[in-house]
C-alpha cells in the first residue's frame, strides 16, 4: 500500500529585501493511514511553513517546489487553486494553535461547522446540522444541539479547540494536520485533547501530522518523529528510537534542555545549546548546526547528506552511528 501523504524534496523560498529566504530546504517524509508523524523543532525551523505548504496556504510571494507532493491519488504540487480548495477540508484538514483566533467571532459554531460540509458535499443544512451535532458529541461536548447556536466567545479555550477538531472532521478527511494544537491550553486540558485526537484518529483511521515544539507531547503521541532544524529534517525515526538513541547532536541538545523528573538532578544545571539559529537567507552549504555543535570539525562545512539507517531511520550528520554514540557518551560525562 502506498503512503497516504507523500512529500519529497519540498522547498519553500520567500523573496525578502536582502535576498531569498529558504525556510524549508528539501523536506521528505510520508505518513500512512492511522499513523502519527510529529514534526518537532524550535521557532523558525520551518515546521509551520511545511504544513502550510502541504495545505497550499502559503503567503502569495512564497515559492513552493516539490519533486513529489501527493495525498492519496491527488497530486497537490500541480493542483490549481480551485482543485486545492476542494482538497482542503475534504481530504485533509487543519487544526491551528489558537482556537481563539482561528474561529470567526461573528458566526455561530453551527454556521462554521456546517459550512465545509455544505460547500464540499452539497448536502442540505439539516443533514449538515445532524453531522455537526454527531461530531460535537464525538469530541466530548455536552448539549451539542444547543452549542450550535453559540458564538466562539461563549466557549472556553478547551471547548473551542474541541470545536476546531469537530470542524476538521466534518468532511471525514484522510489526513489531519495539527499545528501546535494544545500549546495554548492548560496541561489538564492538553492531555484530554490529545487523548481525544488519538481516539478519533484510531476510529476514523486517519493519518496525522502533528507539529509541536513540546518533546513531552511528541514522546506520548508520535509513532514516528522528524526533528527539524533550519529548514531541514535532521533526524527521523520511530519515537522510541529517537528518544532512546538520538543520533543527531541537535536532538540530544534539545533533550538535555528539558528537566525530566527522576532523571535531571533537581536544581542542577540544565543543558543548553549555545549560539543562535543561522540565518536562512542566501545560499547555505554544509551542516546548518555546525556553529553550535560541540563535535563540529572542518568536514561539517561541506557535509549535509542524510544517513539512511533503514526502516525510516535517518539522520543528517557527518558522524557515523559509532562515532555519534561515542560523542553522546562524552556529552554525558561532561
Amino acid at each position: 500500500m502506498s503512503a497516504l501523504l507523500d512529500v519529497q524534496d519540498l522547498t519553500v523560498d520567500i523573496p525578502v529585501s536582502d535576498g531569498e529566504l529558504h525556510p524549508v530546504r528539501g523536506i521528505s517524509f510520508s505518513i500512512e493511514r492511522g499513523e502519527t508523524l510529529c514534526l518537532v523543532g524550535e521557532s523558525g525551523c520551518g515546521k509551520s511553513l511545511t504544513s502550510l505548504a502541504i495545505m497550499g496556504l502559503l503567503p502569495k510571494r512564497a515559492q513552493r517546489t516539490a519533486r513529489v507532493l501527493r495525498i492519496g491519488d491527488l497530486d497537490i504540487s500541480s493542483a490549481s487553486s480551485r482543485e486545492m480548495a476542494h482538497i482542503r477540508g475534504n481530504s485533509m484538514a487543519m487544526i491551528f494553535q489558537e482556537p481563539m483566533t482561528s474561529l470567526n467571532p461573528a458566526y455561530t459554531i453551527g454556521n462554521q461547522l456546517e459550512e465545509a460540509l455544505i460547500r464540499h458535499r452539497r448536502v442540505s443544512r439539516a443533514k449538515a446540522q445532524e453531522r455537526a451535532v454527531y461530531l460535537l458529541e464525538k469530541v466530548g461536548i455536552t448539549g451539542a444541539a444547543g452549542r450550535l447556536r453559540q458564538y466562539p466567545h461563549q466557549l472556553s479555550g478547551g471547548l473551542r479547540q474541541r470545536v476546531m477538531i469537530a470542524m476538521a472532521l466534518m468532511c471525514g478527511p484522510e489526513l489531519i494536520i495539527a499545528d501546535e494544537p494544545t500549546t495554548a491550553l492548560d496541561v489538564t486540558i492538553q492531555a484530554q485533547i490529545l487523548l481525544l485526537l488519538a481516539d478519533l484518529q484510531r476510529e476514523f483511521h486517519m493519518g496525522m501530522l502533528l507539529i509541536t515544539h513540546d518533546l513531552g507531547v511528541v514522546a506520548r503521541v508520535a509513532d514516528r518523529v522528524a526533528v527539524m532544524y533550519a529548514g531541514q529534517i535532521v533526524e527521523q525515526g520511530t519515537a522510541a528510537e529517537v528518544f532512546e538513541r538520538p543520533l543527531h547532536p541537535y536532538t540530544r541538545g534539545l533533550m538535555a534542555c528539558i528537566p525530566i523528573p527522576g532523571k535531571t538532578v533537581r536544581g542542577g544545571r540544565l543543558g543548553s545549546i549555545p549560539g543562535l539559529v543561522p540565518s536562512l537567507i542566501g545560499d547555505m552549504h554544509g551542516c546548518a548546526f555546525r556553529d553550535r555543535c560541540a563535535h563540529a570539525t572542518s568536514a561539517c562545512a561541506s557535509y549535509e547528506a542524510m544517513r539512511d539507517q533503514g526502516d525510516g531511520r535517518a539522520y543528517r550528520c557527518v558522524m557515523t552511528p559509532e562515532e555519534t554514540m561515542a560523542a553522546s557518551m562524552r556529552e554525558q560525562a561532561a
Binding site: L194, A219, C257, I260, P261, R266, L270
Partner: protein, 323 residues
C-alpha cells in the same frame, strides 16, 4: 531561615458586571490564602488558568490591593509601604518579553530606568551599572544601544531580568518567565535564574503552568484551585507523594518525554468551573474522582500534611477515626 514574604488570609474580590441591567457579581479571584516564603527559597505556584495565580502575583508585587487579609514583606504590610520603597524590594519578571519591553527605548534606557526613577546616582553611574547588569545576565555590552526588536526572545528575557535586578531587589516574582520561549532558550534562562539566586541571595516566587520546571527549581510548591491553596509543602514530598486529588490529577497530566507511555487520562472530566458561580462545598468536588457525599456541602478545612497542609475531606481528622 527567616520569612521574607508572607500572606495572611489574603483575598481579592472583583466586582464584575453581570450583564446589561443585571446586578454586579463578585468574583473571588483569591479566597483566603496564607503562604510564607522564606528568604533565599523558591516558592512555586501552580494551577490551571483562572485559578488566581496571576492575581496572587499582582498582590505580592503590591500592584493589586487585597480586599481582605494582608501581604507582609519582612513583617511590614506591603500596603503601608511607599510605592518606590516597595519597588526597591520586590520586582517582577513577566511572561512575554515581546510586550514587556518598551519598543522605543534602547536596552540601556530600559535597564537603567529603575535607577532614574529611584534617583540613584547620575548618568555616569547609570552607564556603568547598565554594563554591569549586562555582564550579570550574560548579554554582550554591545546590545546596550540596540532596541528590543533587534533581540531574540531569550535575549529580551535577559534584558527583562537585568531591569528587574537593577535596583538589587530581595524578592523577584516570576510570572511564567519561560513560557514564551523555545526549549533551548528556556533552559538557558532557568540556569541564569538559578545562578542569580545563588549569587545574589534572591528569593523567587515562580508562577508557572509547567510542572517540570517548577519541580526542577522550586523548593516549595503551592497548588492553587479557584482561589484557594489546596495543597502546599516542600517540592520533594509534593511531587513524590501528592495528597490532594487535584494535585494528583495535575501531576498525572504532565507529559514527560517518555515514549510508549501514551497520553495519561487524568479523569478530570468537566472543564474548569465558572469562578463566578463556584460549586458549593469543596470547589473541586464536581471533577474529583474521590468525591464523597459531604464534599458537595461542606468546604474542607486545611489539614497539616508533611511540612505544609492539604485541604481535602479525605484527610480530615474525623474521617481518620471512622477509617
Amino acid at each position: 531561615m527567616s520569612v521574607i514574604l508572607e500572606t495572611r488570609d489574603v483575598s481579592c474580590v472583583f466586582r464584575v458586571s453581570g450583564g446589561f441591567m443585571a446586578k454586579k457579581r463578585s468574583l473571588h479571584a483569591v479566597n483566603g490564602v496564607s503562604i510564607t516564603v522564606e528568604k533565599g527559597s523558591v516558592l512555586g505556584l501552580v494551577g490551571e488558568s483562572g485559578c488566581g495565580k496571576s492575581t496572587m502575583a499582582k498582590m505580592l508585587l503590591g500592584l493589586q490591593a487585597p480586599t481582605g487579609g494582608a501581604v507582609l514583606f519582612d513583617g511590614e504590610p506591603l500596603g503601608d509601604m511607599d510605592r518606590l520603597a516597595r519597588a526597591r524590594r520586590v520586582q517582577p519578571i513577566f511572561q512575554d518579553p515581546y510586550s514587556s519591553l518598551n519598543p522605543r527605548k534602547s536596552i540601556e534606557d530600559i535597564v537603567t530606568l529603575p535607577l532614574r526613577v529611584h534617583k540613584v546616582g547620575g548618568p555616569a553611574d547609570w552607564s556603568a551599572r547598565a554594563a554591569e547588569m549586562m555582564d550579570l545576565v550574560g548579554l554582550s555590552r554591545r546590545y546596550l544601544t540596540s532596541y528590543p526588536s533587534q533581540l531574540s526572545g531569550g535575549q529580551r528575557q535577559r534584558v527583562a531580568i537585568a531591569r528587574a535586578l537593577a535596583m538589587k531587589p530581595e524578592v523577584v516574582i516570576c510570572d511564567e518567565p519561560t513560557s514564551a520561549l523555545d526549549v533551548s532558550v528556556q533552559s538557558q534562562i532557568l540556569n541564569l535564574l538559578m545562578d542569580l539566586r545563588q549569587e545574589l541571595g534572591l528569593t523567587y516566587v515562580l508562577i508557572s503552568h509547567d510542572l517540570a520546571v517548577v519541580e526542577h527549581i522550586a523548593s516549595r510548591v503551592a497548588v492553587m484551585y479557584l482561589g484557594r491553596i489546596v495543597e502546599e509543602k516542600d517540592t520533594e514530598t509534593l511531587f513524590g507523594n501528592p495528597q490532594h486529588p487535584y494535585t494528583r490529577a495535575l501531576l498525572a497530566s504532565v507529559l514527560t518525554p517518555e515514549p510508549g507511555k501514551g497520553v495519561p487520562d487524568a479523569q478530570l472530566g468537566a472543564a474548569f468551573p465558572n469562578p463566578l458561580a463556584p460549586p458549593p462545598g469543596c470547589m473541586f468536588h464536581p471533577r474529583c474522582v474521590k468525591a464523597m457525599p459531604h464534599c458537595s456541602t461542606t468546604p474542607p478545612q486545611p489539614v497539616p500534611s508533611g511540612d505544609g497542609h492539604v485541604e481535602c475531606h479525605l484527610y480530615a481528622p474525623a474521617r481518620k477515626n471512622v477509617a
